[in-house]
Structure formats: C-alpha cells, structure tokens
C-alpha cells in the first residue's frame, strides 16, 4: 500500500519506495474549476523542496505547484498537454502531474496524512 501525504497547498504525493508521484487534491481542482492548461516540469530537472515546478491554469485562476520534497523529476504526465481536464475528472488518478526521485524522505515528515488533510479541508469550510 502506497503512502499518501498532503501539503497545505493542496498537493498530494504518493510515496512508493524512493519515488513520489505528485498531483493536486479533489478539493483543489474543485476550487480551480475547469483546468485549461498545465505546465509540467521536464524529466531530469533537479528541484529543491518548495520550488515552483509546475503551473495549473483554470478558467478562474493560475496557480503554481510546489515541489513537496527535493529530488529529481523522472517523468511528467505528457497526456495533460492535450487533456488538462483529466485533473478535474480524476485528480488523484490520471490527473497526476509528475513523478520524482526523492532525495530525502524525511522531508515529507511534516506533511499531512489522509485523516489530517480531510480535517484541514473541513476546517476551511
């Protein structure tokens, strides 16, 4: 069973071994509305925790996606270029943004688990 964590910026990261897959939560896509464009990072790009690595643009807003941990991007979801709406349909599935090799998994310790994130979203009203 993969380990799922969330950031306060409403990104999720699914951790499998030393690989993390990153996307945005169902709550985030609801707030954004119809996603019309996504800019995902290129494979091979080295990122530090907190770097702005992707952009998601909807009919209402444009937001930056931050790296939840340091490491190297190993794959980007190329399909999003043609079907950015995947993010609205399946934010936790085929709407994933990119996969990265994690440099230091302890960086993820401060993130929320499912229960904590659910409570966090609830607290936002």
């Amino acid at each position: 069973m993969a380990d799922m964590k969330y950031t306060q910026e409403h990104e999720w990261i699914r951790i499998e071994g030393d690989t993390g897959t990153i996307g945005i939560s169902a709550y985030a896509q609801e707030q954004l509305g119809d996603v019309v464009f996504v800019d995902v990072p290129q494979a091979g790009r080295k990122v530090a925790k907190g770097d702005s690595v992707a952009v998601v643009e909807s009919v209402k807003a444009a937001s930056d996606i931050y790296a939840p941990a340091s490491g190297e991007v190993i794959e980007a979801n190329a399909a999003l270029a043609d079907t950015p709406g995947d993010i609205n349909v399946e934010p936790m599935g085929k709407g994933w943004f990119f996969k990265m090799k994690l440099a230091d998994k302890s960086e993820l310790d401060g993130l929320m688990d499912q229960a904590a994130y659910d409570a966090f979203v609830k607290s936002l009203g």
Binding site: F37, D39, S52, E57, A62, D64
Partner: protein, 448 residues
C-alpha cells in the same frame, strides 16, 4: 474645474503642518553636486507666447527636414508615404481609447482592430500566432531572447553581426540585468557571416536580421535547421517591414520567433518614436509569449466579439511570474499600421515593396558608377551599403550642408569600430524621386 493657485499663506500653513521651513528644504535629499547653482547660461527667464513661437521656429529652421530634402536615410527607420486617410481613421470614436482594453463591453473597436493587427502580422511573417504589439522592434527583440531563454531553459544568445547595433545594445543591456549571456558577432558588412558552427547545446537562440543592418538579404533555412538540431530557437528580426512584401517570410525559413519594427507602415519617422513592434511565434510557444493577446469569441447571444485572452501570462494576473513586464502595447501606432496595411491590401503591399526595391536598385546603379564607390551587396531590398574609400561621416555632413540627407554612416551606430568607418548605408523608398537621386549623385561627386 477652476485652477486656484496657492497663496503664500497656504504654503506657510502646509509647510508648518509637516514641520519644514521652506519648499527648498523638501529637496534636501538631492546632493549639492546635482543641484543647479543658478541660472542656465543662455536660457532666458521667460518669454511671451509669440516670442517663444518665434524662437522655436528659428530653431526648427536649422533642421534639414525629411520632407524638403532629398532623403536616403534608413538604418532602422524608414520614410514612407502615409495616406491622409490613416490619420482620419485612427481618430474615429470607435478607437477612442487605445489603452489596454480590460473591459470588452466598452472596447470592441479597439479589440477588433488589435485582433486584425495580429492576423496581419501572422500573414506577413508566415507565423502562427502574433501578439497585440510591442513597444518597438528593438525592445521586442530583447523580449524574444527572454522568451527563448524560458522555452529552452538556457541562457546564451548568439547575436548576428548583421543585427542593427542599437538592437544589439538593447539585448546586451537586458542580458546584463537579467543575467544571461549575449554573444555578438563582428559587424557583418559583407553579408557572409555563418553562425551554424557557433550554435551549441548551451545556445538558447540565434538572433539574425533580414535584410541585415547592412542591407543583405539572406535565407536562414539552414541556420534554422542547425538551431533546431541543437535545441535552440531562431529569432528573425525585420527592421524594414515593407520588405516582407517581396521577401520569403521568416516563418517559411523555419524561424521560431519573428520580431519586426512596424514603423514603415502607417507611422512617420517622428524623431525616432513612438514606433510599434510586431511579435509572432509558433503555436507551441504561445504560452511563453510576452504581451497582450486578443482572441475572438461569442457573447451570451452567440454574437461574435473580441476579448483579451491567455492573460495568465501577464502581469495583472501572475505578477512576478508573468512572461514579461510589458503589459500594454503600442496601441495607437498598431492601429495606424493596421489601417494603412488594410488600405494597401495584399496586392498594394506587394506593389509598394516592388517600387521600393526598384528605386533602391536605380540608386545603387547610379552611385556605383561614381569613382571610388563600391556597392557591398549582392542582394538587397531598399537599402544597401557602399564603401567610399574615405570616412563616411564627414561626407554625410558635407552633403547635409548642401541640404541633402545622404544616408547613415555605419560609424554613427558603430562609433568604436574602425573597420566600418568608410561605409555608408543608403536607403531609397517609394518617396525617392529621380531629382533627389540626381542631387545625391551630384553632391557625392562634389564632396568625394
């Protein structure tokens, strides 16, 4: 609203509130060395309106105006005939505000002409998408380099020695403050430069100009291939947009970004500005493009309308993440461009380009017959370079004293380069007359 000047008592009260004794004290942050000690020598205190008008008329009479003298100046700004209709059309109420049209419900006239402007730019350049204009060709060029850096995530630009030196310096200034590398080729007076070998894996873009600063017409197809093989972009700059009526569009050569100075169409010389920059690229790079973009849409009733689109690239939405700090455009100049080009139509534009080239070819024939004069170009559009066998700047001064505006000495834009000292750039547009050409030839005979 009436204008009510302050009384001395008002001033005293206001100074008292903020706790200073005199107005001068408000300027105490200005260093003494930068302050004006007294009056400026030779500048009278004040004059009546009539006297001021007379004084300025006397100053203006010292100019040799482009409209009264034989005129062969180019080098990035070209004198063309602008029909009186253009001036009338741009003042119509539908186009009343040329400023940023945030509110489509009240600015359909502005949005529609900008949409048509963009369409014209893509047709002229052979590209897929164009923005609603930049400030001018030179700043547009530095924006193109910044865009190429974003697209390629690289930071080294190669600038051709055929690029207008003023454009080069603007890119270099941007490079200095934005922290990228701009590597310039030597001035390419012969038009033989080959940049293919210089393109490497660090190169974000190669910037070339067609026709070049020295007038050479080139096909950059091979260079485009070399750029793409190395993952770099080719930026083609056009400073004389009328040339696109005859020459192969940069889009067909494989250019990734095309920047033009649009002054030649609809806009006068105006002592160097305001001008209008044309900026076009490929669909795939649209999100990285700077500037405003107008799109066509339908309103709630299904009727055609126009709005600003893809605005998330811009400052008013993404602030510091915007593709550019340019969030306005050269609206009025772009309008004049669009109106003039619409009046010309496709056939008229082509014909205008033909006349320009024919006039320049006539001029080249005439001056090349003069002893000691050599035309350096195998090909050119409406401007070419001649070598005089002696420094060109004094020759141009001597011609000006005879009220002939006989071109631009290359040293004017390349003052530190001895190798171009003898070179003179001559341009002839549709405004050149047989009499004017004869006067230039006669003048050159006298002063050479």
């Amino acid at each position: 609203m009436r204008y009510l000047p302050l009384t001395d008592a008002d001033r005293r009260d206001m100074l008292g509130v903020i706790g200073v004794k005199s107005v001068d004290e408000l300027f105490r942050d200005v260093p003494q060395s930068a302050r004006l000690g007294g009056k400026i020598a030779g500048l009278p205190d004040h004059l009546g309106e009539l006297e001021v008008e007379r004084a300025f008329q006397a100053y203006a009479a010292k100019n040799v105006s482009s409209s009264v003298a034989p005129f062969f100046i180019g080098a990035g700004a070209y004198r063309h005939h602008v029909p009186a209709t253009v001036d009338y059309m741009i003042q119509r109420g539908e186009f009343l505000t040329s400023y940023t049209p945030y509110q489509p419900e009240i600015t359909q006239g502005t949005l529609q002409y900008l949409f048509e402007f963009q369409t014209q730019v893509t047709l002229l350049t052979g590209m897929e998408v164009a923005n609603a204009s930049m400030y001018d060709g030179s700043t547009g060029t530095s924006e193109a380099v910044l865009m190429a850096n974003r697209v390629t995530r690289r930071s080294k630009a190669l600038l051709s020695g055929g690029l207008n030196p003023q454009y080069r310096r603007i890119v270099e200034t941007t490079a200095h403050w934005q922290g990228f590398k701009a590597v310039s080729g030597k001035p390419d007076a012969e038009g033989l430069e080959d940049l293919i070998a210089a393109v490497d894996k660090e190169t974000s873009c190669v910037v070339v100009q067609n026709p070049s600063f020295f007038g050479h017409v080139r096909d950059f197809g091979k260079l485009a291939e070399a750029c793409h093989a190395a993952g770099a972009l080719l930026i083609v700059v056009v400073t004389e947009v009328v040339s696109l009526g005859l020459l192969k569009p940069p889009g067909e050569m494989g250019a990734d970004i095309v920047v033009c100075e649009g002054q030649s169409i609809g806009n006068g010389l105006g002592f160097g500005g305001p001008y209008v920059g044309l900026f076009a690229t490929r669909d795939k790079y649209m999100r990285q493009m700077p500037g405003r973009l107008v799109g066509e849409t339908v309103d709630a009733d299904g009727k055609r309308g126009f709005v600003l689109t893809l605005s998330t690239r811009e400052q008013h939405i993404r602030r510091e993440k915007a593709t550019s700090n340019i969030c306005t455009n050269a609206g009025l100049c772009a309008l004049a461009f669009t109106v003039h080009l619409t009046l010309l139509g496709e056939a008229g534009f082509r014909r205008l380009a033909e006349i320009n080239h024919t006039k320049a070819a006539q001029l080249a024939d005439k001056v090349s017959a003069l002893p000691g004069v050599k035309v350096l170009n195998d090909s050119f559009f409406n401007e070419f370079t001649i070598s005089l066998g002696k420094p060109a700047a004094p020759v141009v001064e001597a011609l000006a004293a005879r009220r002939i505006l006989g071109g631009v000495p290359a040293s004017r834009l390349l003052p530190d380069d001895k190798s171009v000292e003898n070179l003179l750039l001559l341009a002839a547009t549709e405004t050149a007359t047989d009499e004017g050409m004869a006067a230039l030839v006669a003048g050159l005979k006298e002063v050479l």
